[in-house]
Every structure is written in C-alpha cells, then in structure tokens.
Symmetry: C2
Subunit: 388 residues, 2 copies
C-alpha cells in the first residue's frame, strides 16, 4: 500500500444565508483545493453529503461537483453516513490512493441547509436516527442528545452547568477563523443564561444549522514529494478507521459507551502506532457538548465521567494539554452536516502545515480528526502527521 | 493489488407492494449472501441507495443494514450515484478488497419506492437530473429519455416502433427468474399497442417503480480458494471502472454520445484485457429502451444507429450472439433504483456460476454488467470471469 498525503485544501466560509448555490459552493471548495495543491486534475472525487436529495432536490453530487469544478468525466461519487459523511468520503479517497487506484483524488463534503423551514430541516436531520424507533416518534437530534446528556449527568452526578467549557472554547477559537460562522466569544455566564432547549441541553450545547463545503486533495508519495520540492507543506494520513453501531439508542448496551467510536479510535491508534499522549490536537465532533465529552473520554484524554473537567480546566484550549476544535469546531465554525468531516481535516491540515494563522498551535506534529454520524452509529477517525 | 472474487450472492424478490420493510429487505439480501458465501462476517459493508432519505426518512443505511444483518460494528457506508448507486457501492467494495483493506466485504443495494404517491416518487427520481436546469422545470426521467430517443430517431431515421426488441426480450427472460417483478411475455403487437407516455416513448420502453435489495460477498484470493475447496463456484471481478459526465443534457456535446459510458466501458475492457468479442453476456441498464440501445452501441456490439437491429434480429436473446439482461433486466426483473446495479452483478454471477436455472446460458465465461446514474452522468462497468 502507498502512503497517503494531503497536498492541498479548500473551503468556503460557513454561512447561515444561502449566499452561494450548491453548485457554486462545491465548485469553489474543490477548485480552491486543486489550486492549493497546484494540480490541474485528479483521478477521482468522493464527496460527503447527507440530505441534498431531500432539501435541495439534487442527488448524484459526485458527477455534479466534478462537472462544476472542471473535473468532467472522472470517477465521482457521493457518500452518505449522516453527519459522518465527510470523513466517510475521505476514507474512500484514502483507500483509492493507498490501494494504488489513483495517484491523487479530491475528497470533499457539502451541505446546504438554511433555505428550508426549521421544521423541515430538523425532520430531515432526524433521518440519521432509527426513523421507525426514533424520528417517526418525534425524536430529534436535540432530544436524543438531551437523553444521552441526562444519562451522563445521572451516572456521574454532574450538573448540566458543567458542560460549558466546550462551547466557550469553541467560540473563542472561531474568532480566529475567518471561515467560521460565529465570531463572538461567550463566557460561562452567557452559557449558563442560554435557554434550555430540551431537558438539561442548552442552546449553546448545540451546533448551528448552516451551509458549507470543504475539500482536500490527497496524493500518493510521488505527488507528495513533488509538492515538497515546490516548497509546499505536506501532511501524511497515517490512520483511517471506521466503526459503526446501532442507529437507535434503545439498541445500545449502554448509552454512554459509543462502541462504534471505541472501534474507530482504537483502530486508528493501532494503524498510526500512536496513543493519546502523542496527539497534539483533536478535531472532534462537538455537534453537542455531550458528544464532545464522550469523545475526549473514549479517545483516552479523560477518565469516564471526567470529560467536562478537561474543558473546565482549560486543557482543551489552544495552549492546553490537548487542544480541541482549534478553529471553532462544529459548535462555532459551524456544522454543515455532510461537510463537517472535511472541515475538520482541512483545519487539522492547516495546523500541521503551520497555516492556521492566529490560531496556530506551536509545534503541532500529530492531529486526530473524528467525525460522527447520528448519535454514534457511524464514527470515522483519521490521524494526520506532518512530514516536514 | 489482490484479485477480487464474488463468493456469494443474495437477493429478495422485486415487488410492487411493500411486503418487507427497508430493514427487512436489506437484512434478508445481506444475510442470504453471507449464507451463500458460508461466512459469518466480513470487514465492511457498502450499500448503494438513492432516495431512502427522501422517501423512507431513513439515512445512514450503512450502519442501519450492518446492524440489521448481524454485522454490528463493522465499517459500513451508503453510496449514492442515483440509479448507478449499486455498482458504485460494488466499486468501493472492489477497491477495499483489491487494496488489501479487508479480506471480504458485502456490497449491497436497496430501494423502497412504492409506498409514496407516483408524483412524489417521480419527483424524487428527478433529483438525479440537473435539478436547476431540468427537474425544477418539470422534466422527469421519462421526458428526458424521450428527448434522447427523439434525437436518436431523427439522427438515424428510425421509427419509435423499432425499439421493441429490448423490452420483449427482457420480459421473456424475466419469466424464468423467480425474483423478477414481471412474469408475463409481451410480443411486438403488445409493444406497439402500449401507450405513448411521452413523445415516442411507450409505457413498455420504461422500467417500473418497485422495491428490492440485493447483495454480494466479495473476497480476496484466500477467501476464494477456501470457497473453491468447499465446492462453491467462484467468479473473479477482472474490471471495475467508473466514468462521469454532466448531469444535464444541455451540457452534453452530443446527446447521443454518452462520454461517461465511453470512459467506463473502455477502461473496463482495458483492465480486463478483453473486448466485445470476448463478452458472453451483458447485463446492461435498460431503464429505458433508448438507454439499452446506446449501451450496446457504446460497448461495441453494434454500429452507432444499429443498436435496435441487434434486438430485432434476436442477437440479444439468451441463445443469441450477445445475450443481454438475461434475468429480465431493469425492464422486467424491475428497477429498484439503488439496488439495480447489484441485481445486475448477482445475475451475472449466477450465469457464470451456472446457477441461472432455466435461464442458464451455455458456456458463459465472461460477463459485463453496466449500471447508469441519471441520463448517463455516472456509469459504472464491471467485468466478471468464471475461474472454474
């Protein structure tokens, strides 16, 4: 198998208004990535998307985006794993290059969600749940995450007020990211004042509905060496691993143990030959504060029940022990669902390439990015390492 | 790269009533395939689906199906390329085994389409078009195929009455396939009597809306040798190739030249080291008679403009020069869109494994299966060869 490298990245700013069409967004992200990688074309394009067929009446986004981005004719497909679609597309691209099927590929993600009513969008998002057992009975991702949060609070005797460290850090980091949706700091007082939208879950515990598209060019060793000769930063993907679990919460053995995440992160550590102590930053899936909490615990950065302490103590800040969501995360950069997994990897790449601007983390060599579909039904983990 | 083999197949009968739920259909097809391959589990599952998120409110069909089929936890993702979704999923599975990422995988396809109104289903299918330029303006797949058919008739001076050979043969072949939707022969008189539903396009030129799911187990050489030792038929996938083009017809250089198909079939021939003369049967994408016509021409079985002659002269019958759609094709086995690409490969496998029952073709050694998304925006071609 060939080594796989990120040799270029592109994105559009995350927005709450539909300033660009689906076609324009995807074309912009992909052409930006191609330009950044200084390549004219690639062998294939894999794009993550969850609900364009329902909200935009546009399917077949692979061929659609290839055409829009000047890549007419190449292999191109759309990949769907709910909010984990982006990283799932990246995994296909990783395999395509690693397996020698293509010298280079584009992996991308896109979602356009703000042009429909909130009710339509919320219902569309609930298709990531077990529809028969959850969505059809009125459950939404807010209510499902509220259930998990309540179970966590009950098990560990923790107050709902304890989760604020995650959104506060995310909002702080987003201020230094020109592509983020929010550029507004929040403090603990603001967090505590924010409305409970379902049980203990506050508005500030939830990521926003928005639009966005991001893309990466992946290349084999030959492509990476050429990029390096041209003075470009190159980052290797040293692990790519997916795990799954039931969609519905009722079928989990324990709502607080995400088995798909356990499989995914353990496999990633094994592939890359690293452990939690080696990770310099962690782009995790903070769609909800409780998901961020479970993620830092499952990845080995905190004992079960102590994930919120990590955030409270500042360990997740950019100068902390394990910086997370360094460009704002899903909470404050925004969560255009099918694109988020690629935004995470774009941001990790920028950190390792020392292109993260005012949010740059010093001496970052190894980053982990983890993207979740549903309440943990699909989890995709990638580990990235700088090679320069 | 490792060789890739089909070591088992499963399917559910194609239906017009929703006799099984989405969960039951996908679980049945996958567990049938696992049982046929005599394996307990696999490394990953890739499932083609186009519109379940819209028509069934169920996304994340990868993890959903893995769970339903007793494969909880494995890598599992859904793949979307409109009506080409099934073969696109097979392509990912091919890469996963060929590249050494997994020893064995399941590739599957599923669609459930008959529980909604005809209007809702027709509109959902139109998301495979360029929505802005076609679907939103009222175009459907019937109207788009009627346009291509009209252009073909005008260019070659051919009557709309000339296309009947394709559906007539499909219906004849479906009579011997217990899993087909239709078990009713039609003759040319019936074809000519069938209603024109759009321009020259008759009802019998169009494939039906229906439900279905099919699955294959793919394995590496070690798995194939084990299967052979156990006396099971084994078929090698010697080519897997995808090509794309614009979604919208207005952006094609020539509506009658499907560039994505040309790329796909030429690449497949090159990979397998074969040409049209070597192909013993061709499971093509006869969603519409005009698509079947263009497919036999592009694959080199007929000169441009003479595709319908092949059907008229009986060359596509099971005892003809190049048997096509030997188990009924999309027209008469049925076209549950995201599943069709896998049904095609299941049927080709059965022919090469000499398990095609009364529809068995004598001495079939090499089969080609070709699956199309939209009006040719995504085309995926696989070549299968028996190894026993």
């Amino acid at each position: 198998m060939s080594d796989v490298y990120i040799i270029g990245a592109g994105q559009v700013p995350v927005t709450r208004e539909a300033v660009q069409s689906l076609r324009e967004m995807s074309a912009t992200a992909v052409t930006n990535a191609l330009k950044d990688a200084n390549v004219e074309t690639v062998g294939a394009l894999y794009i993550g998307n969850m609900i364009s067929g329902r909200l935009c009446s546009q399917n077949q986004l692979g061929a659609f985006t290839a055409m829009a981005a000047g890549l007419r004719g190449i292999e191109a497909v759309s990949v769907e794993a709910a909010c984990g679609s982006g990283a799932a597309a990246a995994r296909w691209g990783f395999m395509a290059v690693s397996g020698g099927f293509h010298d280079s590929v584009v992996v991308a993600g896109i979602e356009m969600m703000t042009h429909m009513s909130r009710e339509e969008t919320t219902t569309a998002l609930a298709t990531a749940s077990d529809w028969e057992a959850e969505g059809a009975l009125g459950e939404t991702f807010v209510s499902l995450n509220s259930k998990i949060m309540s179970a966590y609070m009950a098990k560990y005797g923790i107050s709902g007020d304890a989760f604020g460290g995650f959104p506060i850090t995310a909002h702080e980091n987003a201020c230094g990211n020109p592509n983020a949706l929010f550029h507004k700091r929040i403090d603990n007082e603001a967090y505590l004042k924010s409305a409970h939208i379902n049980g203990p879950l506050r508005l500030f515990d939830a990521s926003p509905i928005c639009n966005g598209s991001a893309a990466l060019v992946l290349g084999n060793r030959k492509m990476a060496l050429a990029a390096q000769r041209a003075g470009k930063p190159v980052v290797q993907i040293t692990a790519s691993a997916m795990g799954t679990d039931s969609l519905g919460l009722r079928e989990r053995h324990d709502q607080l143990v995400l088995e798909g995440m356990r499989r995914s992160v353990q496999a990633a550590y094994t592939q890359a030959g690293v452990g939690p102590d080696d990770i310099d930053l962690f782009e995790l899936h903070d769609a909800y504060s409780i998901m961020a909490t479970l993620s830092v615990e499952m990845a080995g950065f905190a004992e079960p029940g102590k994930g919120t302490w990590l955030a409270r103590d500042g360990d997740i800040r950019r100068d902390g022990r394990i910086p997370i969501c360094t460009m704002g995360g899903l909470k404050a950069r925004g969560h255009p669902v099918g694109a988020s997994g690629i935004y995470q990897m774009v941001e990790a790449y920028h950190q390792l390439a020392e292109r993260a601007g005012e949010n740059q983390i010093a001496n970052a060599r190894i980053a982990m990015a983890q993207n979740i579909g549903g309440t943990g039904a699909t989890v995709v983990t990638h580990i990235l390492e700088r090679t320069h």
